[in-house]
Structures are given as C-alpha cells and as structure tokens.
C-alpha cells in the first residue's frame, strides 16, 4: 500500500511528521524520530540568539490534554546550523521552525537555515512580538502578512509553512493572510492558551502561570481549523496538528482536508514507536476500505466541502 503523499513540493513517505517543539533541538533526536518512522521532522523553533526558556514546572499532563510553557529555549541559529546539516543524512525532509521577536529576525533566521540545507521552513507565528504590547504575531493578519513576506523573500524557492494559532475568532482570516503573502502551506494549529492549578497547593502549576494546551483536548479544535482553512483555501497544502494519538485521530484530519499530520504530544505517552504504529494502522484502514492508495483516500470528493 502506497501511503506516500505530497505536501506542496515535498514528497513524504507517509503522512506522519514530527511536530515542532517535541525533542527537536538536537540532530541526534531528529535522526531518532526519522529512524523511528517519521517521514519528516519539524525542528524546535530557532531564534537568532540563545534563549533559556522558563524554569520548571513547564509541563503538565492529564489523560486528556497537556499544557506547556517551555518558553522556546534554544541555542540560537548560528549553533543550530550544524544540527540541520547532520539531521539531513537520512534523505527525509527537515523542516526548520523559525521564530522571531521582530519581523527582521524571522527573515534573518529563515535565510540562514535555508542556506544550511533546510528543506522547508515553518514559521512559528505564536512568538511574542516585542514591539507590540504583549501580543503575538499570530493573531494579527497584518503582522502575519509582513512576517510571511519577509521569510518568503529570505528563503528562495524553499517551501514556507505558516503555523497558525487557534486563539483567534477567524482562522480563515489568518490562513488567507499567510497564503496571500506567499506562504506555500499551512500548519494548523499551534496550542490553545490555557492554565491549570494545583488546588491542594493552591498554586498555578506552570512557572509562567499560563501556557499552551495540546493533546486530545486540542484535537477537535484543530480538526475544525483544518476544515475551515480547507474550505477557504481549496488548493493550499495543510498539515493537521493537534492530538494525533491513534490513526483515527489522523483520519479526522484527512477527512477535514489535511494533506498530512504532525505528531507531538502523544510521543510522551506512546514513545517514538507511535510513528510505525500509525503507518501500520493507516495501511490496515485503507486496505479494509478498499482504497488503492492514501492519495486516493485523501483526494476523494467529500460532501462537507
């Protein structure tokens, strides 16, 4: 069974990709995900300078969701370039997540990683905008436009994906802004803002007080976002991201119009074995349903569009 797929001009051996933020800060970890069956990886978000991130507690997990406020730690772009080169030895796409606290920073980081061999760039739009007043780039279509234009002009012909936030009243508005500004594709979605308390200790759990919700609770929200984006943008490549644990979760995304999915939070519970399990279960599903390929399933006309 052929489960390869195209996402824009990237060919993937399967529609299961490592999501950004999940142990993607070092080449050996990226290689581990690729060797474990991920068809591509998205790195942790890279900024121009080194960032420490937040002190622990930075993570909380319940059966239905995780919430994190890691604070985007990283070694800075100069020291990360070597990791991109070394992660590329398996001939699977390495997509680098780029961040910035200014529009110029997004552009300069994207230019550097593209030159070092990144196969694509994913723009993390959920970064704090230092010139703004505590807002993030990702909730303002005009800022998205400017960041995407800057990144697109910096990376030449490498594909650019905009990772959108679900913290918005109009996901289509954000997606349209990104695509009109030149984004080749979208990743939907980043985490939902949330917070959690420990009522025995009467304290917020995260050192940053609030954070981003991922996992099962994010899943139906993310599936809807993909659906809304697919309706508004029939031909744009879309990665579905949010709460993929079982193949049924991935199928939700494909039925909503995603070309491929990114897997993140479930790795903490299922380990890297999750990629091979998803691949096997997708093949089983397609065979049972009589499809000749993943492509046939995903291109099938659906009445909800």
């Amino acid at each position: 069974m052929n489960i390869s797929c195209w996402v824009g001009n990237l060919i993937l051996q399967s529609p299961f990709v490592l999501a950004s933020g999940i142990a993607g800060n070092e080449y050996s970890l990226l290689l581990r995900a690729l060797r474990s069956g991920a068809s591509a990886v998205v790195t942790k978000t890279i900024f121009k300078d080194e960032r420490n991130g937040y002190p622990p507690p930075i993570y909380y997990e319940s059966p239905n969701y995780s919430i994190n406020a890691v604070g985007l730690p990283g070694k800075g772009v100069d020291r990360f370039l070597e990791h991109i080169r070394r992660a590329k030895t398996l001939e699977k796409p390495v997509i680098v997540s780029v961040g910035g606290t200014s529009i110029e920073e997004y552009g300069s980081v994207a230019a550097a990683v593209a030159k070092s061999g990144a196969d694509g760039v994913e723009i993390n739009l959920s970064c704090p905008h230092v010139e703004g007043t505590g807002t993030e780039f990702g909730s303002d279509p005009e800022l998205i436009r400017r960041v995407v234009e800057e990144v697109k002009s910096a990376v030449g012909d490498k594909p650019v994906f905009a990772k959108l936030t679900p913290n918005t009243h109009s996901i289509e508005g954000l997606g349209l802004a990104a695509v009109e500004a030149g984004a080749d594709g979208l990743s939907a979605v980043n985490t939902l803002r949330g917070m959690v308390f420990d009522s025995v200790l009467e304290e917020p759990v995260l050192s940053n007080v609030y954070g981003g919700v991922s996992g099962r609770a994010l899943h139906p929200v993310a599936v809807y976002c993909v659906y809304a984006l697919r309706k508004a943008l029939p031909h744009t490549p879309i990665f579905g991201v949010g709460g993929v644990y079982e193949v049924s979760d991935a199928l939700d995304f494909f039925l909503a119009g995603a070309d491929a999915v990114q897997v993140g939070t479930s790795i903490s519970q299922r380990g890297y074995g999750v990629f091979e399990e998803l691949k096997k279960d997708l093949v089983d599903y397609l065979e049972r349903k009589g499809y000749a390929s993943f492509e046939e399933f995903v291109r099938k006309k659906r009445r909800w569009f």
Partner: protein, 254 residues
Amino acid sequence: MWYHHYRVSSNTQLTSNIHRVVLESTDTPISKAKAGEFVMLYIPAVGELPLSVFKQKEEELHFVIEDYGGPSSRAVNLHKGEMVGVRGPYGRGFTLKQNTNYLLLAGGSGAPPLLKFVEEAQSTPGVSVTYLLGARSASELFLLDEARSMGARVMVSTDDGSMGYKGLITQLAEKLLSEATYDALYACGPEQMLLAAMSLAKRFGVYFEGSFVRDVRCAVGVCGLCVMEGTGRLLCVDGPVFSLHELEAAQHGG
C-alpha cells in the same frame, strides 16, 4: 494524578550543603522507584527540581539534597509541615543482577541512588557490594553507617586525605580494580568523575553504568532539553542511568 502531595516531616543537615529531607504522603503516594530512578519535587511558588529517590516506604519518601543553587537552595531549607508536590518516578535506574560483584562509586551528592542500590542488593542472592564515597574532605562525607549497616564494604576517599584514601575516588577505584576482580562498576557524581569511571571500566573490561545529570524540565521526553548530546537519547526517559554501550553509540551518532 500529576502531583502526589506530601508534607515535610523532617529535615536533617548532613554536611554544610547536604540535607536529608523526609516527606510523608497526604494523599496517594507515588509508585515504587528503583535505585537510580528520579522524581520531580515541586515546591510551591519556587519551582521544580529533579531528585533521585534515596529511600521509600509506603507513605514516606527520603531524599538527600545538595544545595547547588536555584530551587535546590530552597529544597535544603524545607521545614517540617510544608506541603510539596511530587511526580514520578521517571526514567531507568541501575540494573541489579544476581551473583554479581559490584563496585559503586559515589561522588559527593551522587550517593543517594547508589545507597538505594545497596539496599536493593541486600536481598539479592550472590551479590556483594563495595561502596566508595569520595569528597574533598572528611567533613563532606555522609551516611557511611547507612551503607555499612546494609552489608556493603565501605571505603572513602578525600582529596585532602583527612579521612580514608588520599586522592580522587577514581584513583581509589583504580587501585581496587587492579587488586581484585569486579563484575560491574556503577557510578554517580560529577560528570568528570563519571567519565573517568567510564574509562576505568573500559580499561579493566568491567560492565559500566553511570547516573548522569542534564537540564531536566518536562521529565516526560517532550521538551528535549535533557538530551545526551549525539546519542539520540533523553536523560529523563532513557536515563538518567546509562551503560557504557549506550553512551559510546553516542560518539558514533547512533
């Protein structure tokens, strides 16, 4: 449950910067930890720190905590009655096999997981344990009677010679390895000491496991900050105890 809640029942100073802190469960205690496995201790409004479990009874958790700055400075000052959160146990601990002659190297605050190992080894057939504790001077040595009472042969090294062997713990280990045969060398302490112990084990052809330290934050294999560089392994889920083989694959990008 993410945090299991505990109340501090005692805090005893062992050396100038090392304390023994005992916690008592107020709801459900965490499940049994093996020697070398760790928990995250959450001190409200202060932060979290990774700690290896030193002793564990039904409702009780014992830690030996060193003040190395950050939340640990607060942890050594926890006072009776304070409430804390504990999550875990996490990771993989030391392997314990029957009929094995173990040489254990504890550098300073690296003692707790190895003392727990001594305790576990007591009830394992055919196991003999030599426990070495190294420090700069006699005033920094602690819990020697604990190891003795559990049946281990105990030896100490001090840099200044104020007690036991004068020199580094790895020099004492080298001496012992050339005098007698050991099946396995286990170590916990500063990275430099671990690397020296590892090369000793290699030289003498002895099986090695070491408990390492990295920047542990999520503890569940997500954030990636505790990567053992070049190995594709995360300290929080694949460690903190690694064998020589696992770390050597490291050098070759495996």
